[in-house]
Amino acid sequence: MSAVEALQSCLAAEHAALYGYGVVGGVLAGTTGSTRLRVYADECYVAHRSRRDTITADIDRSGETPAAAEPAYELPFRVTGTASCTALARLIERRTAAVYASAVADTVDRLRVIAIAALTDCAIREVGWGAPLQALPGVGRT
């Protein structure tokens, strides 16, 4: 995979992440006693949006057209309350981490720096949502 193709994959992942966090934020907004989680979801959303914007700018600079977000994304399960919001957020971070880990392999220099930082951030956020610590975030067991 070329570096630009890797970036496009990362951008697609960020689009999906933003959609997912939009759902999480919306559900938590209507859930009593979830202020702490809602604040954390907002922080995660902002972080992903920043990554999306950075990657979009990089793809623009390459002369390629940045991948567009889908109008909607199919969620893996119904998101109706705190537990399902937390589960979705963990899944978002785990899957996005895997995309960035792959991007590390396909990039060099500045883009690899970005991919490593993004992978690290996803790993930290996944644990922030209550996931167990992994030995190899984004890569997993053999």
Binding site: S2, S62, V104, D109, T120, I124, L133
Partner: protein, 179 residues
């Protein structure tokens, strides 16, 4: 000396290298890197044996150094958990992750030799100092694996090292290890 001869070791995790030789034989069309115009051919989907590249490549030396580093962190965890019983719940999970790191790093090399033997770690005098030592080692390991990931020529190796760096970042963030 316990060192395995570097001449006999090959890196299993191969991706199309940035070197001239690697780019010339890369099977995928390369595209300009968005940042600086350097290109990178597609990376291997699975580990393949090195068919005869120069021995003691930088990536091999990088893996050997990472093995020594990760082993030292494992030894710190084991020593701390053995000396201060109450630290086992904190340090044992870190040790388990370290064992997985070591297994993956060793699997990245063709030689089965374990490399340099570990040395007994001096355990700090008290529980808090032992935790501080482990945290310092974790932070150092995070930075080192990140540096290694940026330097690695092999894409799959860079990915593995970046993942290890991310794992250390999460560990360093643990409340149990915070000063």
């Amino acid at each position: 000396m316990g060192d395995s001869p570097s001449l006999s070791r090959r890196l299993l995790l191969q991706g199309a290298a940035l070197s001239g030789a690697g780019a010339a034989v890369g099977g995928c069309a390369s595209s300009p890197d968005a940042a600086d115009g350097r290109s990178r051919s597609g990376s291997a989907a699975a580990p393949v044996a090195d068919s005869g590249a120069a021995s003691a490549s930088p990536d091999v030396r990088l893996v050997e150094s990472a093995i020594a580093d990760e082993r030292a962190l494992l030894d710190d965890c084991l020593a701390g958990a053995a000396t201060f019983t109450g630290l086992a719940p904190v340090l044992d999970p870190i040790a388990a992750r370290q064992r997985e790191h070591l297994a993956r790093l060793r699997a990245a090399l063709t030689s089965g030799a374990p490399g340099r033997p570990s040395h007994p770690r001096r355990v700090p005098g008290d529980r808090a100092a032992a935790l501080r030592r482990v945290r310092r080692s974790v932070v150092d390991a995070q930075r080192a694996r990140r540096t290694d990931a940026l330097a690695a020529d092999s894409g799959p190796l860079a990915r593995l090292l970046a993942s290890m760096s991310a794992s250390h970042a999460v560990t360093a963030d643990l409340d149990a290890l915070s000063p």
